[in-house]
């Protein structure tokens, strides 16, 4: 019971920090659960995937209500992400833990690197005739119109993002959002909302596999999910006020440390 309270508090912290940094909690919660509590990585992945569904549904309800989500594009791309997640979930059940640790270490390295890149401004989104959408920008109050470019390439990357999500129990937004903004020509706000919307069904696809194979441990998954869910509510409310560059740098070092921790576990047997 004491451990559950501690896990809920860690989840709370991860939810706050994750939503402030604009990433899901998975990349943080899995190193913490395996590192601090010595939990098997598949149990940590199972707990993470449940919290990923929770945050996606909660944030999804808000974004859809505001009209930021491109629901039609999401539904097309979900074919690719769910296929990827199904393959990823099945693979994760079969893979040896140390291999999962190694793959996780690589993904953490990428996320840390990706956060350091200068954020490119929107490349002038404009209608393309393919799934044109519009929304009212919450800051300027003006309508923004855009269309989709390079959908086939986007679908390919979506499969990969779904695959990583199913394999490692993370949302996969870190892979999709840059592709949707830089390659597919979406404005940042719409890309974040649409990616988040897809994450719920993507995570649910692999969650049913984890559930049936006994990797959803209620002692771990429940406090994690509730903690992250409430933390994300707090974090999204204070996010605007604290876009601190130093905090971001600190966060990158933390991810790098976690990455090394994952590689260490991969080499020492994974357990």
């Amino acid at each position: 019971m004491e451990n559950m309270l501690l896990i809920a508090l860690i989840g709370l912290g991860v939810g706050i920090l994750g939503s402030m940094m604009g990433i899901g909690g998975g990349v943080l919660i899995i190193p913490l659960l395996t590192g601090l509590f010595g939990l098997p990585i598949k149990t940590a992945i199972g707990a993470s995937i449940i919290s990923v569904i929770a945050t996606s549904s909660a944030a999804g309800a808000v974004y859809v209500g505001k009209g930021l989500t491109n629901t039609r594009l999401a539904m097309v791309m979900e074919i690719a992400t769910t296929l990827g997640a199904m393959a990823g979930g099945i693979t994760a059940i079969l893979l040896k833990p140390n291999l999962l640790f190694a793959i996780f270490g690589i993904v953490l390295l990428y996320v840390s690197y990706n956060m350091g890149r200068p954020q490119k401004q929107d490349t002038n989104p404009s209608p393309t005739g393919l799934m044109d959408e519009s929304y009212i920008d919450p800051q300027s109050g003006k309508p923004v119109q855009y269309g989709i470019q390079k959908l086939p390439a986007g679908l390919g990357i979506s499969f990969l993002a779904g695959n990583i999500s199913g394999l490692l129990g993370i949302g996969g937004g870190v892979i999709k959002v840059p592709v949707m903004t830089l390659l597919m020509g979406m404005p940042m706000r719409a890309a974040v909302a649409t990616s988040n919307f897809m994450i719920g069904i993507t995570a649910a696809t692999s969650a049913v596999i984890y559930y049936q194979n006994g990797y959803i441990n209620p002692q771990i998954a429940v406090p994690t999910a509730l903690g992250v869910l409430f933390g994300a509510q707090i974090g999204s409310r204070i996010a605007g006020r604290m876009r601190n560059q130093q905090l971001k740098q600190l966060f990158r070092w933390l991810l790098l440390f976690f990455s090394l921790q994952m590689f260490y576990r991969a080499i020492t047997g994974g357990g």
Partner: protein
């Protein structure tokens, strides 16, 4: 893929249709997350006040209802987890029905494929 050339009249019509779908999705997600949070918190509170332990595994499917009826925390926690997992799946199911209602066969088909993949995943798992 769909090409939309928008005249002002058309875009007004589209907005109305879009609102129907978005309201549906908004409420389905909100209701799902509220019910599951309530169930998960109930299970934890029950465990704290009755001192019943929380097992480290979810019960078999045919044991979930008996656990719930016996007011054991694990019953509430398991149903809470299942509602959480089911929320996005029901959201996709709701989208299929809404597209069929709108006679948008292309997107009804697309969302139906997503639903099939999830169902396949349940059977393969």
């Amino acid at each position: 893929m769909q090409t939309i050339s928008e005249t002002p009249a058309e875009s007004g019509w589209k907005t109305k249709e879009k609102n129907l779908m978005e309201r549906l999705l908004h409420w389905m997600l909100l209701i799902g997350i509220t019910i599951s949070t309530f169930l998960l918190l109930s299970g934890l509170i029950l465990a704290v006040f009755t001192g019943q332990p929380i097992p480290s595994e979810v019960p078999a499917f045919d044991q979930i209802i008996p656990e719930l009826l016996a007011y054991r925390p694990i019953g509430f926690l398991t149903v809470g987890i299942l509602v959480l997992i089911a929320t996005p799946i029901l959201r996709v199911f709701g989208s299929v029905l809404a597209f069929v209602y709108e006679r948008d066969w292309r997107y009804a088909g697309i969302t139906f494929i997503v639903l099939l993949i999830v169902i396949l995943s349940i059977f393969l798992g």
